[in-house]
């Protein structure tokens, strides 16, 4: 991959060119390379999670089957959920944050390039650590929500849950670092004239998402610390026999977990808010409203967590509060959908694959949103909670919303990253197989859920009469899997020999399209001055910007040094956390030493060439 990327760059040989080779990727602090690494890693994990899902689908295809053991099934669904959320949807969004945000705001890199690399390596090692549990046949098996007391050492005596809580805490570090990084970048590093209310929507949603990351992740971090102490040192946080309340885990988990849902969906909203105007040739309808709606969703998202807990028995007053808060969220979400439709209204719509995925998102996400309104109603939730109806709902939201949005972004920004188009024919195959496969997999689950099939079950009685829905779902899953293969085939083929793309292949309005595809490692030879929300759509402004951005860097750009401390620090953090598993105080204390040493060396290393 690296050789292709630099071949492209060679054609615009500027001041100082980026190095190639494995070592340069390991030590890179370039946001674009980190983005590509994020994307590739997340796609690999997507296949891991997908295989887990396929095995489960075949196990559930017919009632009372036992292709695999119940224990293995529990490990599969736990790992599927954890993988898809923490190792696929989140990092794939972060890949886009990384690639796109600095380009959209006219910056040369993120605010903390080495921290950015650290985030990636921690994510990679955390993900590998989680999946290493398979090697010990001890994958986490207490579901992705890990409800106490099932995760206590009494009921989960093995190391399964240890792998889970340790890798999740490791991944949390990456997320907080990423959140801090992007907030700082967006607040501090915008090009001249790029006011907040001129930022592209994708940057805006990155901003909101980053806030959710830095505020929600600490809560789960503490909950995981409690869990770890309970398991390893015998504290009684979630031990009912000692007065500890298992429901507190649920509160802490969902205080994190619900903002997490918006962490997943808001980047997708951002993507389609950029894609839809481009391919409708119209500016986003009601830009400020869409921005405020996004902020509002993020903010109210903090006050609704207990709608995951209506069956827990919090009492009618608490239930009513969370019903009301949850339903209020539906309003800004609806406003956004109508604004997107209004953006297309009266436009001139080109059905590129990116646009198809955006329209698909609108059609499919609405279904997920509306089933969400159904179980936002607490009494109705009592019937639907923990059934396949809910499984259908959140897959419509996460796959039909978050993932569709990210795939739209993939087709949209791939030409920028590679200098080549993704194949549109394969893209349309990808889209239609996704639509058919996805809907066929998850729509029938509404029925199996309402007809009484609980989720997280290894098998079900033939008496329930839900086999037909499960068979449809399995067929759909196969089609869906094929769509994923088409996507990867398209990625590999197009990266190597796709049709060459110009700087601005779509006629899009934002800054990232004002520089060559792929961009120089320093992005902008000089920083352009922005005077409007769609700078490349205003004739005069476009000329001015292109005059600045399409040139070469005249002097050596001020770029950060490559560094190997991020990967070393990430490795030592992972090691330190892994040692926690021993539960021995002095071993854990020893593990801190390399972390401390790497942090110190990191601090003493100059970040930029001229800092000596």
């Amino acid at each position: 991959m690296s050789s292709v990327a630099t071949q492209q760059a060679d054609t615009h040989s500027g001041a100082h060119e980026e190095e190639t080779g494995l070592w340069s990727w390991i030590t890179t602090v370039d946001h674009k390379r980190i983005a590509i690494m994020y994307f590739v890693t997340a796609t690999i994990f997507f296949f891991v999670g997908g295989v887990e899902a396929m095995i489960m689908r075949f196990q559930l295809m017919n009632p009372e089957q036992s292709l695999i053991s119940a224990e293995l099934y529990n490990q599969l669904f736990t790992m599927h959920g954890t993988t898809m959320i923490f190792l696929v949807a989140m990092p794939m969004a972060v890949a886009f944050f990384n690639y796109v945000v600095p380009l959209q705001i006219g910056a040369r890199d993120v605010a903390f390039p080495r921290l950015n690399a650290l985030s990636y390596w921690i994510f990679l090692f955390g993900g590998l650590y989680l999946n290493a549990s398979w090697l010990f046949a001890a994958a986490p098996n207490a579901s992705w929500v890990g409800y106490a007391t099932l995760t206590s050492s009494q009921f989960s005596p093995g190391v399964n849950v240890d792998f889970w809580f340790i890798s999740l805490s490791i991944l949390g570090i990456a997320s907080i670092a990423g959140g801090v990084n992007f907030i700082t970048t967006i607040v501090n590093m915008r090009a001249p004239g790029m006011k907040l209310m001129r930022m592209p929507l994708f940057t805006w949603m990155t901003f909101v998402t980053s806030f959710l990351l830095i505020t929600a992740i600490p809560v789960i971090a503490v909950a995981l610390i409690f869990l770890g102490f309970d398991r390893l040192f015998g504290t009684v946080f979630f031990d009912p026999g000692m007065g500890g309340d298992p429901v507190l885990w649920q509160h802490l988990f969902w205080i994190f977990g619900h903002p997490e849902v918006y962490i997943l969906i808001l980047p997708a909203f951002g993507v389609i808010s950029d894609v839809i105007p481009t391919f409708s040739k119209k500016p986003l309808f009601g830009y400020p409203i869409v921005v405020y709606a996004g902020i509002l969703i993020g903010f109210i998202g903090w006050g609704v967590w207990s709608h995951h807990m209506f069956t827990v028995g919090l009492g009618p007053i608490a239930d009513s509060f969370f019903v009301a808060a949850t339903m209020i969220i539906a309003i800004p979400t609806g406003v956004k959908i109508f604004n997107w439709i209004a953006t297309m209204w009266g436009g001139s719509i080109r059905f590129t694959t990116a646009m198809l995925f955006s329209i698909g998102l609108l059609a499919v996400f609405t279904v997920g949103g509306l089933s969400g309104i159904m179980h936002a109603s607490a009494p109705v939730n009592l019937q639907q909670h923990d059934t396949y109806f809910v499984v259908a709902h959140f897959h419509y939201v996460i796959v039909g919303g978050a993932m569709m949005g990210l795939w739209a972004g993939l087709y949209y920004w791939f030409p920028k990253a590679s200098g080549r188009f993704l194949n549109e024919t394969l893209g349309k195959w990808h889209f239609w197989t996704t639509m058919i496969g996805f809907n066929l997999t998850f729509f029938p689950m509404h029925f199996s859920g309402m007809f009484g099939m609980p989720r997280r079950i290894y098998t079900y009685s033939a008496d329930l009469n839900v086999a037909i829905y499960n068979q449809l779902a399995t067929i759909g899953a196969v089609i869906f899997a094929i769509s994923a293969v088409i996507m990867v085939w398209n990625l590999v083929q197009s990266w190597r020999k796709g049709e060459k793309a110009p700087a601005d292949p779509w006629g899009a309005p934002h800054l990232e399209w004002s520089i060559p595809s792929p961009p120089h490692h320093y992005n902008f030879p000089e920083l352009p001055t922005v005077r409007s929300r769609e700078p490349l759509w205003n004739d005069g402004e476009r000329e001015e910007i292109l005059a600045v951005t399409m040139g070469e860097a005249t002097e050596e750009p001020h770029m950060p040094n490559p560094s190997y401390w991020p990967i070393l620090l990430a490795a030592s953090i992972t090691l330190a956390w892994a040692l926690v598993m021993t539960g021995v105080w002095w071993v854990i204390a020893l593990g801190i030493i390399p972390v401390f040493f790497c942090t110190l060396m990191w601090g003493l290393e100059p970040a930029f060439p001229e800092d000596h």
Binding site: I183, V187, R190, P192, H251, L314, P316, A318
Partner: protein, 114 residues
């Protein structure tokens, strides 16, 4: 990079080479903080305040927090972006702590148990 970005500086040059305040002011703040702490402890021990103890303590410790943030951490003198960033965390924290306390100590777990 530095030259182009110079133009974008939005007004406030908060980075003051002389620092943010005078030594005398810092010492005054330190003294006030100590006094507030002793008032808190006094409220704790004086039984007459028992009924209003909790609100008084909450107000006093909030005052202490605000003093430290505003003067020792110089937030008062900084760009308001910092206030916005930090306050977003503080507001959510206060909301979460209050919500959990209410859920556990003020609402019955199941209102109409027979």
């Amino acid at each position: 990079m530095s030259t182009e970005l110079q133009a974008t500086q939005s007004g406030e040059h908060s980075h003051d080479e002389e620092g943010h305040g005078s030594v005398a002011m810092y010492i005054w703040i330190g003294v006030i903080l100590a006094v507030l702490t002793f008032v808190e402890v006094a409220v704790f021990y004086i039984e007459a305040f028992e009924a209003v103890e909790v609100p008084i303590l909450v107000v006093l410790s909030t005052a202490k927090v605000i003093l430290v943030v505003m003067y020792f951490m110089h937030l008062k003198m900084e760009h308001r972006a910092l206030t916005g960033l930090f306050m977003s965390g503080v507001v959510l924290t206060v909301f979460m702590v209050c919500a959990l306390i209410i859920l556990y100590h003020f609402l019955p777990r199941f209102a109409f148990a027979p």
